[in-house]
């Protein structure tokens, strides 16, 4: 790891943006590591939570947004619950995902693809259409066989419907999407 010139490689505006969007103050973190200690996903992270917080304090935008960690966080809230400095760490991770998504720098394509499949299903039918979501994901992600092994199980216990149950108000839901996207465009 080569040295970071803090004088000119600290992205202050990024620190401010995250603080503003998440309503959390990164300076409160004194790097005790409790979040990393409690995080069930630490083993899968490229940067443990406490280092994400540290990178944030150091304004290392690129490293953070390109990290896998922010996408592998499943928001189990352990870090938030145990932070001695009362920082809502999970919410900061959430905010970082939003920024990464907005800047099209998602490192974990599969997860994003799944989320997108989920959301488009909801936009389309108003509710989650599980089979549809899975299929869309498999096609988009190229992992055609994902969870194919589960298929028989699910069916033999007739756990799912093969046809989407769409609702009357699905257009209302769709409108939520559209209005949001309009706003997003307006305010950049």
């Amino acid at each position: 790891m080569d040295s970071i010139n803090l004088s000119n490689k600290t992205d202050w505006s990024f620190i401010e943006e995250v603080a503003e969007k998440s309503g959390q103050n990164p300076s409160l973190c004194y790097q005790c590591g409790n979040c990393t200690a409690g995080c069930p996903y630490s083993h899968f992270f490229d940067y443990p939570v406490s280092q994400i917080m540290r990178l944030l304090q150091a304004g290392q935008k690129d490293t953070i947004l390109s990290s896998k960690a922010i996408w592998l966080c499943a928001t189990c809230e352990t870090c938030t619950t145990r932070c001695p400095c009362e920082i809502d760490v999970a919410h900061i991770m959430d905010t970082l995902r939003i920024i990464a998504r907005r800047e099209n720098r998602v490192s974990e394509k599969d997860i994003k693809t799944f989320y997108d499949a989920f959301l488009s299903s909801v936009k389309q039918f108003g509710r989650l259409y599980e089979v549809g979501t899975l299929l869309t994901y498999n096609l988009k992600s190229g992992n055609i066989m994902t969870d194919a092994d589960l298929g028989p199980k699910v069916m033999s216990h007739n756990k799912i419907h093969f046809f989407p149950r769409s609702i009357k108000g699905k257009d209302q839901v769709a409108k939520i999407y559209e209005r949001y996207q309009d706003k997003a465009k307006k305010h950049g």
Partner: protein
């Protein structure tokens, strides 16, 4: 009237954000002001000489100094003007530092504000009257509250200095927390070996009267003359008869009483002597567990006692003592492990607190110094220490550092290796705080010589797995999550103030901070004084402190009392309430409101009833003045006219 104004630069502290020259120039124009100047450091010796010179040359009869807070230097400058022949109440101080130059950034606004501050002081000083303090006798006995190491040190130093001392300890024996410790850092001295002799001295010193298992019910009076009500709690054992033979303890059938001395790490008997070196070495019954009290039948101890000392009917006894000064050394408590549910202390027997571990290490402890796990009495091979268990944790309202955990954890880790050579200790820490003499070397030794593994990171969770306790933490230096499978986990639990610290403070009329620790007179310069004259602090009741610091404060407080008692008479503060008998209608409302019973009714020769102030008792709060319907009783130096003069100085335009 000739007022002189002296504006202090205080280096750049004031001059940095206030145009002092302008303040001097503007205030010179004020009616009554004949002289106004600035000086670099007015409180310095030459600075004070400047004032005295001016008093002579300009023949000033009133002085205003615009500088720091009067809480800082009022007394200094009163002495200055007194030396120059003025009555020391012909002085006022305008606070243009703490209240202006340090909190405002706009120089113009600050300067203007400073000018007004001086104007207020000038208007008031013009109404100041010369006041003369009367003197009163002091009772040269000192009360020490708390028999821990700080309190004992204070008591012994006072007693050796020839003062009569009353030492009140709420538990059955003196010794406090230190008497529970096994060894002390960084010397690995045996704690009780160095404390024991002091405890004996306390017991045997002819100048010290020890009230063990007693508490303070009430404190009345003022510096030099306090009346104290002491509650001797019922022990149900006549201590004049009890020889401390311990026969009762052996035979007591109630074997599961909570052991307060050992912090519940093992049970004790309902009648017990807390520990072998206890002073006084007397038995006491815990009615919560004694069958005689819970079941109404047993009486084993009464039968067994060779001196027939047991008395189930015993009641609390109240004694009243008169003293002239009070040293508060009430110590500290430790956070309840249940406050940290993720660590499971209290739920899992093998997660214990540091003080409990001390008792396990201690030869006179419940395990006679053999380290065993509470769950199965097995010898632990892997011991994990968790520093900052509750400390520096805003989320549970303890943002501060507990001061000595880093050090005793290092000590306990070293001792663990001594007791169990094939054991391995781990310490989870955030920062190692070891600023004392020889302290940092000590924590290094733990790692270099004793191979203690220090892991930089907090512990998130402790859970049982088989007969192990899994400690899941972080190694922030490695940047990973780490797990240790421990046999025993020791929590360095946070230091907190005593549950009743607030009530004690209220009895003493001293202040305490948000965390219940007592507030010293000045954080730097009056560390063992309080804002209540005659009441002094020693030890951890003022904030977490280790042994040397507590002993130091014990001695310091003692020397303060010695100084106070070096005179036979005390000067009373003349700024007390005064009755104008011509205006007083004798309604005696003031008598009812005075918090100090300092006002009595008096019959004049002509039979008229008026209020009368006992000067030495009056504390000068002025509640009576605001109560009096006809302004007949006035608090000197803070009269209605003086305060209204200040109001008008800033309001009228």
């Amino acid at each position: 009237m000739r007022v002189g104004v002296f504006i202090c630069h205080c280096g750049s502290n004031i001059a940095g954000t206030i145009d002092v020259a302008k303040v001097a120039e503007e205030t010179k124009k004020l009616p009554g002001v004949v002289y106004s100047t600035t000086y670099m450091y007015t409180c310095s010796e030459p600075g004070q000489e400047e004032i005295q010179k001016a008093i002579k040359t300009e023949n000033l009869d009133r002085v205003v100094v615009a500088a720091c807070s009067p809480r800082m230097h009022e007394l200094t400058f009163r002495r200055t003007v007194a030396k120059a022949g003025l009555n020391r109440y012909f002085f006022e101080q305008a606070n243009i530092r703490e209240h202006i130059s340090w909190i405002g950034t706009d120089k113009e606004l600050n300067t203007n504000k400073a000018i007004e501050a001086v104007r207020m002081a000038v208007e008031k000083v013009k109404l100041n009257k010369p006041l003369f303090s009367s003197s009163f006798k002091i009772n040269k006995r000192v009360l020490v509250i708390g028999g821990g190491v700080a309190g004992m040190q204070a008591a012994l130093d006072c007693a050796d200095g020839g003062l009569e001392v009353l030492l009140v300890e709420k538990s059955p024996s003196v010794g406090g927390m230190m008497s529970r410790l096994d060894k002390t850092f960084p010397t690995i001295d045996c704690s009780i070996c160095i404390l024991g002799p002091k405890m004996v001295d306390v017991a045997q010193h002819e100048k010290i009267k020890l009230y063990a298992y007693s508490e303070i019910d009430e404190i009345k009076g003022y510096v030099g003359n306090y009346q104290v009500k002491i509650r001797k709690k019922a022990t149900y054992v006549d201590w004049n008869k009890c020889t401390g033979c311990g026969a009762c303890m052996e035979k007591c059938p109630s074997k599961n009483s909570y052991d307060h001395f050992n912090f519940g790490i093992a049970p004790t008997r309902a009648i017990n002597i807390p520990f072998p070196q206890a002073i006084p070495k007397k038995a006491k019954i815990d009615p919560e567990y004694c069958r005689q009290f819970t079941k109404g039948k047993c009486g084993v101890c009464a039968k067994i006692c060779p001196t027939k000392a047991i008395d189930y009917e015993m009641q609390d006894e109240i004694v009243t003592e008169d003293v002239g000064a009070i040293i508060v050394a009430t110590g500290y408590s430790l956070i309840d492990m249940e406050k940290l549910p993720e660590y499971g202390g209290g739920r899992y027997p093998d997660v214990i607190s540091g003080i409990q571990y001390e008792r396990l290490l201690n030869a006179s402890g419940p395990t006679s110094g053999h380290i065993v796990r509470p769950s199965d009495n097995a010898e632990p091979k892997t011991v994990v220490f968790v520093a900052c268990a509750g400390s520096r944790d805003k989320s549970i309202g303890i943002p501060y550092c507990s001061n000595f955990c880093c050090m005793y954890i290092a000590k306990q880790a070293i001792l663990t290796k001594d007791h169990i050579p094939d054991s391995q200790s781990y310490v989870f820490y955030m920062d190692i705080r070891s600023p004392g003499k020889g302290y940092d070397e000590f924590t290094r030794r733990a790692q270099e010589e004793y191979g203690v593994k220090y892991i930089r990171g907090r512990v998130s969770r402790i859970y049982p797995k088989g007969n192990k306790m899994v400690v899941r933490g972080a190694d922030t230096l490695l940047g990973t999550q780490v797990e240790v499978e421990a046999d025993l986990v020791v929590l360095g639990t946070a230091v907190i103030s005593n549950a009743d610290a607030g009530h004690m403070a209220e009895k003493l009329h001293i202040s305490y901070d948000t965390f219940g620790f007592y507030v010293e007179g000045h954080p730097k310069l009056r560390p063992v004084e309080t804002n209540t004259s005659g009441v002094f602090l020693a030890g951890a009741c003022q904030g977490p402190k280790d042994i040397p610091a507590s002993v130091g404060q014990g001695s310091a407080a003692a020397s303060k009392v010695q100084a106070l008692f070096s005179k036979d008479m005390l000067e009373s503060d003349p700024a007390v309430a005064k009755v104008n008998i011509n205006a007083c209608v004798g309604c005696l409302k003031c008598v009812g409101t005075c918090p100090f019973q300092a006002i009595k009714e008096k019959e004049l020769r002509d039979g008229r009833i008026v209020a009368d102030v006992i000067e030495t008792v009056c504390a000068g709060c002025g509640v009576c003045t605001s109560t009096c319907p006809c302004g007949a009783i006035q608090l000197q130096h803070f009269t209605d006219n003086q305060i209204l003069a200040e109001v008008n100085a800033i309001c009228l335009k």
